[in-house]
């Protein structure tokens, strides 16, 4: 067991290492930020000095070496734009992003799984068809469009909810204040529509596949009540593959905050990365990508380990 966990941990570290290389390589190729940073009337001397100050006048290998050394010290360099350590800039905004993602994920699971089960039990009933059609729209509508329409309806036309910003923050999150909640509703809904629909559909297909199995028929044949067959025998089997999906999808959610935050002017990392990409603010982009990948890899690791607990077939 411990050996397995260490094995997976080692694997994760390798993946992180490769990712760091790719990310750094991409940013190295990305172009020269100096042109953007200096005023138009800067002299050639200014440019050379600035390049030296930023450390980008050296060879790729040298830069990468320096980069790795700094990473080991927990230093990803100073932001070209903000002048502060890049990690700090990203970490400062991370809670706002995670708040959105976590709430959206919880919301999607809370509604997606039960609705998926309902739609799987009687696939031909009218309510199943309604659920399925709605979920189809869920995976068909781009996130930015959902957000736009929500703003148009609830902020512009009805004036019920604020259209931008984060509202009052209490202990890292705005979920504990009424003002904060009002600001959260639309971004979270926007972000969760697609996930909810996806989880719902996967639950449904999984349940329907499991319900065809012999062991479900045998459970019925030995007189286990219908609800136990569905909610214990079948659900337990179909939840196992869902864990993987939910793990992967959480990473996707974090990435999709880029869109949500743009629309709702949410002060998180998504907005930061879009700005930084446009400014070629290399340290910020690298820091952001590394942190996101780290979250992603960490989740995959947790899912792998979790698997050995919930699925007796892979238990060591």
């Amino acid at each position: 067991m411990l050996k397995y966990i260490l094995n997976r941990l080692f694997h994760s570290v390798i993946v992180m290492f490769v990712i760091s290389f790719i990310v750094f390589f991409i940013m190295f190729k990305a172009g020269d930020p100096v042109q953007l940073l200096l005023p138009p009337d800067a002299t050639q001397q200014d440019v050379i000095e600035m390049r030296h100050a930023l450390g980008i006048d050296q060879s790729f290998i040298k830069q990468y070496e320096a980069f790795l050394k700094n990473v080991a010290k927990g230093n990803l360099g100073n932001s070209f734009v903000y002048g502060q350590p890049a990690l700090n800039v990203v970490f400062e905004r991370l809670p706002a992003t995670l708040e959105l993602s976590v709430l959206a994920m919880i919301f999607s699971i809370l509604f997606g799984i039960p609705l998926g089960i309902i739609a799987s039990i009687k696939p031909k009933a009218w309510y199943s068809k309604v659920i399925m059609f709605l979920s189809l729209s869920g995976i068909s509508v781009p996130i930015f469009w959902t957000g736009m329409i929500l703003v148009l309806v609830f902020s512009v036309l009805l004036g019920w909810l604020p259209s931008s910003g984060r509202g009052e923050v209490y202990l890292f999150t705005s979920a504990f204040t009424w003002d904060g909640i009002k600001h959260l509703i639309m971004p979270v809904l926007t972000l969760s529509f697609f996930q909810l629909a996806l989880i719902l559909r996967l639950t449904r297909t999984g349940m329907m596949e499991v319900m065809m199995q012999d062991y479900i028929k045998l459970a019925t044949a030995k007189g286990v009540p219908r609800r136990v067959v569905v909610y214990y025998h079948a659900l337990k089997n179909s939840l196992i593959p869902l864990v993987t999906v939910i793990g992967i999808q959480f990473g996707q959610l974090v990435a999709f905050t880029i869109v949500t935050e743009t629309i709702f002017a949410w002060p998180g990392t998504g907005k930061l990365i879009i700005d930084s990409i446009q400014n070629l603010d290399r340290p910020i982009v690298v820091a952001y990508l590394l942190i996101i990948s780290f979250i992603f890899v960490a989740i995959n690791f947790v899912v792998d380990v979790l698997y050995t607990f919930i699925d007796p077939r892979v238990r060591v």
Binding site: L136, I274, Q278, S293
Partner: protein
């Protein structure tokens, strides 16, 4: 008319929603293929635009209103549809070709070929798809061709993984073994024996991923990192209209959005039905 007697085809047509999706999709394809037949004006021909027409709400002349340059929204949508569809189809064809081939080879040969291809896929999947596309576009700058390539790079993994999975089970089947025992070449076994038996899941995923590619392109364009504004797709039309959405000119972005939604829903309806009838695990 052998085609209409095929069991899968018959089964497909039994679902009214799916047939509806197919009809709408075909209609949209016709619109996109011959945009000039359906539109009031060529929205990119500046000689046809008049500033006095700007920001007109929907009316008799301009069914769906006009934008700030006096451009007919309906006409712009038809042209935008063309680009959205092009990006979706082109990137899907490219990524199917690349992913399918790599998946077949990876699954059939196994060993280090498999390890390398699948490790690359694993690492790529360690990044959220949209992030990869975003970075690529940020580095290369906008452009239709670039969007197609970015989406291909994101999507090939899904085909590769699926194809590999199917090949792993197909190559152990007796028909493949018997071809091998006959001394057939590996190339022949992969492409002439195994490939025809792996198309069903690939077709299903491809349908779903066309829809996905269209959404991804729209999202990139919305963020200003997709197709250039001179050749707008539905996504860039929405982005363009979004800037004036709260000034009351809602038609500028809402109508392109509706069309985008209809397009994606119609493709997903088709994909859904195909998934249902081709899923061997739901068949008795």
């Amino acid at each position: 008319m052998q085609f209409f007697k095929n069991e899968l085809v018959v089964e497909f047509f039994e679902d009214k929603l799916a047939v509806g999706g197919l009809v709408i999709f075909i209609f949209l394809c016709v619109l996109a293929l011959f945009p000039s037949l359906f539109s009031y004006q060529n929205p990119y021909d500046l000689t046809q635009l008049f500033l006095q027409n700007s920001f007109q709400p929907p009316n008799h002349t301009f069914w769906l209103g006009t934008d700030e340059q006096g451009r007919d929204i309906f006409s712009a949508m038809v042209y935008g549809l063309r680009i959205s569809l092009y990006v979706g189809l082109a990137s899907t064809i490219l990524s199917v070709t690349i992913g399918y081939t790599l998946g077949l080879i990876s699954g059939y040969y196994g060993g280090w070929v498999d390890t390398i291809i699948m490790r690359i896929a694993d690492i790529q999947l360690s990044f959220p798809a949209i992030l990869i596309a975003l970075i690529i576009m940020a580095l290369w700058g906008e452009g239709i061709g670039k969007v197609v390539i970015a989406i291909t790079i994101v999507n090939w993994v899904y085909y590769a993984r699926t194809a590999r999975g199917v090949v792993l089970s197909e190559k152990e089947k007796d028909y493949a073994q018997s071809a091998k025992a006959l001394g057939m070449s590996n190339f022949g076994i992969i492409f002439s024996e195994i490939l025809p038996n792996t198309t069903a899941p690939i077709i299903v995923i491809a349908t779903v991923r066309i829809a996905n590619a269209i959404i991804l392109e729209a999202t990139l364009s919305f963020l200003g990192l997709g197709v250039p504004i001179t050749e707008p797709s539905l996504g860039s039309l929405i982005a363009n209209g979004y800037q004036v959405l709260f000034s009351g000119y809602w038609w500028d972005s809402v109508f392109p959005g509706v069309l985008l939604m209809v397009l994606v829903v119609s493709i997903n309806l088709i994909g859904d039905r195909m998934r249902d009838i081709m899923n061997p695990r739901l068949k008795r």
